[in-house]
């Protein structure tokens, strides 16, 4: 207690010294806010324009948005900078890094606390439940600022569907029907009809949420660091075994880790793909055929399916400068004002329409819908509708995932999938091995983060 007071006093003194040492700050030179992001072009440029819009709207703060490599590089850069007492004010963190950031409580300032401290107001009640849930504490307070959220959907080649005698306007709803369609597509001359991007996110995480089965104990890890993987269950085993069998049959092609398979549909090599809703922009640009967007398939004999899908993408975290704190009130205020700017309905709506990421709020969605945007951009509303599938009421299994070391666990599952697709193991062994290796990661994370 005494130590904390002393520390606060020290911070107060340094702040006072800094303000005194920089009289220019009081006289109107803007407060610099460093914002590190991990978006490549063209999305990165759009993000920098959002920051530029904020800078033009007022004179007190200046947000410098800079690209620091992909999501994982940005994460590593921010952590290294924090250790060197030079962290950015704001860092964009991919959704799987959420648990890591949350566990490092002295490194970040949760958004709820930031808003309380600075008196800035953002209404989170209206934010899409699936987005809000992913980035909030178990009691509902926001930990980070949702920014670019995506979900995943099916994209398919309508021309190929016509050629195979399938109805191009009705994408099959269930997995068995998708397999049937793939067989017809193969018969019509498409060598490997179906593929997937983000194998773990799509075929394990999304699949579990949609079918209302747990990915991990403790409510997918929301309830504590002592969660264990629960992926070794019959529903998931059945689906992965199907994928392995379809791979053998030539209906499904493993296109590589993460987003490596993104190019297969636009190149015309596959007729069906499951990918991030953000892939829309690329397909729009590259595909030279008629294509469609549909919701992810499910097994209709699983009782509660289909529920809402979960999100991917990233959120923004307010960071301390280093292990000893070191941010002035003015800097925190600037961060909060910038977050509030991002939540403004017109800023958020423009971001959604330009990029294809999910709209932040429900009312924002209604507003864009009323403007007729989705009539001109058919399929752009499928991701949002899918987020609201199952009535928009989240269960413990469909609100998201919060596991420490989750990037590593994702890779472990991808590696075990690769073993299975090479014919070295079946779905049961895949899930057993992934569970065993994944739990080691969880235990290590738990140990390293226990005070």
């Amino acid at each position: 207690m005494l130590r904390r007071t002393l520390a606060k006093g020290a911070i107060g003194l340094t702040t006072a010294a800094m303000v005194a040492g920089r009289p220019a700050a009081a006289q109107g030179a803007p407060v610099e806010i460093q914002f590190w992001h991990g978006l490549t072009q063209p999305l990165g440029g759009m993000l920098e324009q959002v920051a530029a819009g904020f800078n033009e709207s007022q004179q007190r703060y200046r947000v410098n948005a800079s690209y620091r490599g992909g999501y994982s590089e940005t994460m590593v850069a921010a952590i290294a900078a924090f250790r060197a007492n030079n962290a950015p004010h704001i860092v964009q963190m991919f959704e799987v890094g959420t648990a890591t950031m949350m566990a490092a409580s002295r490194a970040t300032k949760p958004v709820w606390e930031l808003l309380q401290q600075t008196g800035v107001k953002i209404d989170f009640e209206d934010v899409l439940a699936g987005v809000r849930g992913y980035y909030s504490l178990p009691d509902g307070r926001m930990a980070s600022m949702p920014f670019n959220s995506s979900t995943s959907v099916s994209f398919y080649n309508k021309d190929a569907f016509r050629k195979a005698g399938l109805d191009p306007e009705a994408f099959p709803r269930t997995w068995p029907a998708v397999a049937e369609a793939a067989r017809k597509l193969k018969a019509a001359g498409i060598a490997t009809p179906m593929t997937t991007s983000w194998p773990t996110w799509l075929m394990v995480e999304q699949f579990s949420a949609i079918h209302d089965i747990p990915l991990a104990t403790k409510g997918n890890g929301f309830g504590g660091l002592d969660a264990e993987l629960a992926i070794n269950n019959p529903v998931l085993a059945r689906h992965l075994q199907n994928l392995i069998d379809w791979h053998k049959e030539g209906l499904f092609r493993y296109g590589g880790r993460d987003n490596a398979a993104d190019g297969l549909l636009p190149a015309g090599e596959c007729a069906i793909t499951f990918a991030s809703s953000g892939t829309r922009a690329r397909i729009l640009r590259e595909a030279k055929f008629d294509w469609g967007t549909a919701m992810l398939p499910y097994y209709d004999d699983v009782p509660k399916a289909p529920l809402n899908s979960i999100i991917g993408g990233a959120s923004l975290w307010a960071m301390n400068k280093g292990p000893s704190g070191g941010r002035s009130e003015e800097e925190w205020k600037g961060v909060a004002e910038f977050f509030a700017w991002l939540a403004k309905p017109d800023v958020a709506a423009k971001w959604h329409m330009d990029t294809g990421y999910l709209p932040l709020t429900r009312s924002g969605y209604e507003q864009v819908k009323a403007s007729g945007f989705y009539k001109q951009n058919v399929g752009a509303d499928v991701p949002i509708e899918q987020m609201l599938r199952g009535g928009g009421v989240l269960t413990e299994n469909s609100r998201g995932v919060r596991l420490g070391g989750f990037p590593e666990i994702r890779n472990i599952i991808q590696e075990e999938m690769e073993r299975a697709f090479q014919g070295q193991q079946d779905a049961k062994a895949l899930l057993e091995n992934a569970t065993r290796r994944g739990n080691v990661v969880l235990r290590n994370f738990e140990r390293a983060n226990r005070a």
Partner: protein
């Protein structure tokens, strides 16, 4: 009896050595010390919680089956890269050393790949062997040979070996060429007069006289395959599929930078450091004596 030359005074020699000592200290001893220290700790990514765990990280690394797999991969990978790069370079050097028209141009062209950065070399090979966009990759698939290094571990390993070896051939080529040119013509001519045919001349004269060069290159190639091939693996396979091309150095990166498991990563790099020290010591102590100079 040898007479040792002894300089008086300590200041000047120390002063002259200082730049080198400072550089070694900052760029080797300090980070190496840090690595040893972190290998004894268990901490979270941000360095907020840390506890001393002794040698526990080492015990975990050695007991980890994925680390053992990586060690086996490294052995196979390094050996293959070294043999392939040395054999190809020797063949090319012997051919380029002959009196042929335009040998200068050949020599220049053969040295070029050395100037290519490992990651760029990998991208060049990717353009050749990618199953969808690669020239050769497409041809293989069109010929009904199922080529997909992203899913077939054996193919992935073959590809990173070839790409890494190709990168090193130029370096070996320069040294072999220099070695060949330092072999006295008179010896070769004498052998010719005695009736030795080219193959026999090569195996009985050229090859033994090249052994110091070969031995030096073997060490350099092994170290190259151990440490400098990170860029090739990172750009081509990221250690996949299913860890089939994950070498020890790549695993250090994956565990430390991607998985933010600093203690385990530091322990692995300390083990690597011990391996390199052992290899270098063995080179000087044991093998170098047996090489014919």
């Amino acid at each position: 009896m040898r007479k040792a030359v002894i300089f008086k005074g300590k200041l000047l020699p120390l002063l002259l050595m200082l730049p080198q000592l400072v550089i070694t200290g900052i760029f080797f001893f300090w980070p190496a010390g840090q690595a040893i220290w972190s290998s004894l700790l268990r901490e979270d990514a941000f360095g907020l919680n840390r506890s001393f765990v002794g040698l526990e990280n080492f015990a975990e690394v050695v007991a980890d089956p994925t680390w053992r797999d990586a060690a086996a991969n490294t052995a196979l990978f390094s050996f293959s890269v070294a043999v392939l790069a040395l054999a190809a370079a020797l063949l090319l050097a012997v051919q380029a050393d002959k009196a042929i028209r335009g040998s200068g141009a050949y020599k220049t062209l053969l040295i070029w790949p050395y100037a290519v950065a490992p990651a760029i070399a990998a991208v060049l090979w990717l353009f050749l062997f990618h199953p969808q966009i690669g020239l050769i990759g497409r041809a293989l698939n069109a010929a009904q040979l199922a080529w997909d290094y992203r899913l077939n571990g054996g193919q992935a390993m073959t590809l990173v070996i070839i790409a890494s070896a190709w990168k090193q051939v130029s370096y070996n080529f320069i040294f072999f060429l220099a070695g060949l040119q330092s072999i006295p013509r008179a010896v070769l001519e004498a052998a010719s007069i005695d009736g030795a045919r080219p193959m026999r001349r090569f195996w009985t004269i050229i090859f033994p006289l090249l052994s110091p060069t070969s031995f030096f290159l073997l060490t350099v190639n092994l170290v190259y395959a151990f440490f400098d091939t990170f860029g090739v693996i990172h750009a081509l396979t990221q250690g996949g599929p299913a860890k089939a091309t994950e070498t020890l150095i790549y695993k250090v990166y994956v565990d430390g930078v991607e998985n933010l498991n600093l203690g385990a990563s530091a322990a692995q790099s300390v083990i690597l450091m011990a391996i390199v020290i052992a290899v270098t010591a063995a080179q000087f102590r044991l093998i170098e004596r047996k090489v014919h100079y």
